[in-house]
């Protein structure tokens, strides 16, 4: 029952198979490369080392949250509560650090923030799996509740960070910025988690088809909750990083005031080739997507594009990224 096409997987075929299976990754890498070339010519300041490090530091905040978002999208959902989670973590962290600055207290604060984020993620998954609310609506609703609580606690930017906390964003290990290493570690670990561990594969399988996963004996509601908890966990890390970078908290830091981490993280994940609807993709693509979004933001800023115009352009890219993959999606068997 074997035909030759399936058997011969050597030499040139192996290369073509590699291209075939990583087509999306190769495509977005090429896009990133093209964008960098454009940036070098369009914005003379782009290639200064100061600016490049700046791009990377910006990319870390988006990178952390996008790595988490990848899991939420892979499992077949989407997480619109990450922006609010970032705001929450930012405000509470700086609020607490204004009063407690000992290293022990900082550790406790960080753990508390992570716990809080996990609760938000778990709540998301409960609303989705138990109340059967579509992920889009569920996470938007939970996100609104969280954002509301944040604004009840703090109406304007404030708070402080503990001494030494700025190392997170500004520190260097050798010549390399610490946050870049930090992100890299999480990208690698997440990559291994999704590809090599049973739970990670169950996330992908559940996104591929919840029914098939369930019939295969996977307890899908549990897998879904892991994915959403991972998403908000990474959002918390992103929030913590932003407090270090900004030196203060802001009730809108995850959402309206600065970058829009909900939309940007989803854009990065989808540009990176993870399939909306789940079941295919991974963090490697997401990181390239993050770099594309970050470089794009940087070009906008260097060339002085009107911020509202930036929204318009990013909206178009967002729709474009989804549309390209949606229209190319293979049709199922009849």
């Amino acid at each position: 029952m074997m035909d030759e096409t399936v058997r011969s997987t050597r030499g040139a075929d192996r290369w073509s198979r590699f291209v075939d299976e990583h087509r999306e990754l190769l495509t977005v890498s090429a896009v990133l490369l093209a964008l960098v070339v454009i940036a070098v010519f369009a914005a003379p300041n782009f290639s200064s080392s100061r600016n490049l490090f700046n791009v990377l530091r910006q990319a870390v905040a988006l990178g952390l949250v996008s790595v988490g978002q990848t899991a939420a999208i892979l499992v077949g959902g989407i997480d619109l509560s990450v922006g609010a989670t970032i705001s929450l973590v930012g405000v509470y962290t700086t609020g607490l650090m204004a009063n407690y600055t000992s290293p022990g207290a900082v550790v406790l604060i960080v753990l508390a923030m992570i716990l809080l984020a996990l609760v938000i993620g778990f709540t998301n998954s409960l609303v989705i799996t138990r109340l059967q609310v579509a992920p889009f609506i569920a996470t938007m609703g939970v996100g609104a509740i969280v954002q509301g609580l944040v604004l009840l606690y703090a109406k304007r930017p404030g708070g402080k960070i503990a001494p030494g906390w700025d190392f997170f964003a500004e520190g260097k290990i050798g010549p390399v910025p610490f946050p870049v290493l930090f992100l890299l570690v999480f990208v690698v670990l997440t990559g291994l988690y999704l590809r090599r561990t049973a739970t990670g594969r169950h996330i992908v399988a559940t996104g591929g088809s919840e029914m098939i996963a369930r019939l295969s004996g996977i307890v899908t509601w549990r897998v879904i909750s892991y994915a959403y908890m991972f998403s908000t966990f990474m959002a918390a890390l992103s929030g913590l990083y932003l407090t270090s970078r900004l030196g203060a908290g802001d009730p809108l830091m995850g959402g309206l005031a600065y970058d829009r981490y909900d939309l940007d993280s989803i854009t990065a994940v989808l540009i990176g080739g993870t399939r909306l609807g789940g079941g295919k993709g991974g963090v490697a693509g997401t990181i390239i997507g993050v770099l594309i979004v970050s470089v794009l933001n940087n070009i906008f800023n260097l060339t002085g594009v009107n911020p509202y115009m930036q929204w318009v352009i990013k909206g178009l890219i967002f729709i474009g990224a989804v549309a390209i993959y949606a229209t190319r999606r293979p049709k199922g068997r009849s």
């Binding site: 029952m1 399936v6 058997r7 739970t199 399988a205 098939i212 019939l215 009849s334």
Partner: protein, 500 residues
């Protein structure tokens, strides 16, 4: 009291609009191959899904080795040693064969990391047992339907289950693959595994099964030792009477040609298909799943782009680039899945029926309610659609009545040709006969009918002419009078007439 490997007692399961199982009891012994037969919708798949933990029974109990158990999830079913091979393939196209086979049961090391080497080794071993030599690294999307079916079987075997349920495993298998499957079943039997074998192919049951239980209308008709019965008896148990009595009489001489296709080709799906349908005639399209039957209907109906070939309607060459054009050419297409492709479940009977022809009954942009009501009422009466009122939402109707609503929807526009794709799938037997009679009546009224069906009894009982598909080609045409189940099956499976 005798302890059965698995025993189901007095199981009842009700779905909205239909009693799927009505006080059914069933048992399978260790080392037994127990065939389960019955028409689609007879309740056999529902019973098996209860065993597999997909559905919960509304009443009744399940015993394993004489101990009552509750099978609350597929996970629990696996734990109890029940493996099931589903009719529709439950495999993920983006994962490898090995990952698919052991999905949910991956061998794990520290930190829950999957032991890939062990995974592939085990997958390889299971495939070997099936006589299949495929690289477990391959992604599923690269396999043929038959290969994927073998992977599905491997998945169930890898459970080392005590009871293996096979829901029509042979639907897409032929020849050597089928023999391998039978070898595996015999081996399982030797190991003392109980096998429940659901099939439509009566010939297979006499080859492989020890006992057979017949389902009909959500009840069991009876359980027999296979050695004690013959084929006509089994068929009679299945349809409640002799085959010839269940179907309407055949049509008279056909009239003028309504549709002719010549050399229709869709890459990878249809290969040089030529066919014609005349007024007053029912042409049955037989073939295995994936043989190109539905694709033919879609191609004719403008829902699938053609790579070659010509379509003639009443002798005139036409182009049908979209379903809208097909409607204008007086074609109607009742899709396989009534709920997804045919009806808007949340709309009423009246709104559904009126949907495709709304454009023609507008007054200043509003639908003329009075005319709509008149037209729909008269058709609903003709088809005897049983609903409390035409304002009833379609989702509250039974399968048979839903199919009539779909039919009504197409009849409003007065089609010359109707294509039925699996017209009676999931419909109970009484309603089936009504649909069959309606189809014959429509043909007698001068319409041409193209009927795609996987049910051999239906193909043979209803068609005036049968075209058999195999891998996108028409491999044979036969007049219904002389066609037998075996002849059609052979053609559909091997693409040529064949003995044994």
């Amino acid at each position: 009291m005798v302890e059965h490997l698995v025993e189901m007692r007095d199981i009842t399961k009700v779905f909205p609009g239909v009693v799927a199982l009505d006080d059914v009891s069933f048992a399978c012994e260790a080392g037994e191959v127990h065939a389960v037969v019955g028409e689609n919708g007879a309740g056999k798949s529902t019973l098996m899904k209860i065993l597999a933990g997909v559905y919960q029974p509304d009443a009744g109990e399940i015993l394993i080795d004489g101990h009552p158990v509750r099978i609350t999830s597929p996970h629990e079913a696996q734990r109890l040693g029940i493996g099931i091979i589903y009719q529709e393939l439950n495999l993920l196209p983006d994962m490898t064969i090995a990952e698919n086979v052991f999905l949910g049961r991956e061998p794990r090391g520290t930190f829950g990391i999957v032991d890939s080497r062990k995974l592939e080794q085990q997958a390889h071993n299971v495939l070997r047992r099936l006589g299949v030599d495929i690289d477990p690294h391959l992604r599923l999307a690269r396999l043929s339907v038959a290969q994927a079916q073998m992977v599905e079987i491997a998945k169930a075997l890898s459970l080392d289950a005590r009871l293996v349920i096979m829901d029509e495993p042979s639907a897409t298998l032929g020849g050597r693959d089928l023999e391998y499957l039978f070898d595996v079943i015999r081996a399982l039997k030797q190991q003392g595994v109980g096998v429940v074998y659901i099939s439509h192919r009566i010939a297979e049951i006499f080859r492989i099964a020890d006992r057979v239980t017949v389902f009909k209308d959500g009840k069991t008709v009876g359980t027999q030792d296979v050695s004690q019965i013959d084929r006509p008896t089994l068929v009679r148990m299945m349809i409640g009477r002799m085959l010839s009595e269940a179907f309407p009489r055949r049509g008279g001489a056909p009239g003028e040609e309504v549709l002719r296709v010549e050399h229709l080709t869709c890459k990878g799906r249809l290969d040089d298909v030529s066919l014609k349908v005349r007024r007053g005639e029912i042409v049955g399209i037989a073939g295995l799943v994936g043989a190109g039957r539905t694709e033919l209907a879609e191609a004719i109906f403008g829902a699938r782009p053609l790579d070659g070939g010509e379509v003639f309607i009443q002798g005139v060459k036409v182009k049908i680039p979209s379903p809208r054009h097909a409607l204008a050419r007086k074609l109607g297409f009742l899709t396989e899945d009534r709920n997804e492709g045919g009806l808007v479940l949340g709309l009423s009977v009246r709104e559904n029926v009126a949907l495709p022809s709304l454009d023609r009954r507008q007054q200043a942009g509003f639908v003329d309610q009075r005319i709509e009501r008149q037209v729909v009422t008269s058709i609903a009466q003709d088809l005897s659609i049983r609903t409390p009122s035409l304002a009833q939402d379609v989702e509250n109707l039974s399968g048979g009545n839903r199919q009539k609503v779909v039919l009504a929807k197409w009849l409003v526009s007065g089609p010359d040709l109707l294509i039925f794709d699996e017209p009676t799938r999931g419909i109970d037997v009484g309603a089936k006969e009504e649909i069959w009679n309606l189809m014959r009546t429509l043909a007698d009224q001068g319409k041409a009918v193209l009927m795609i069906s996987s049910e051999l009894l239906e193909i043979i009982g209803m068609s005036d002419r049968i075209a058999v598909f195999h891998r996108g080609r028409v491999v044979g045409e036969m007049p219904a009078g002389t066609a037998t189940e075996e002849a059609v099956m052979m053609l559909a499976t091997y693409g040529e007439a064949h003995d044994g």
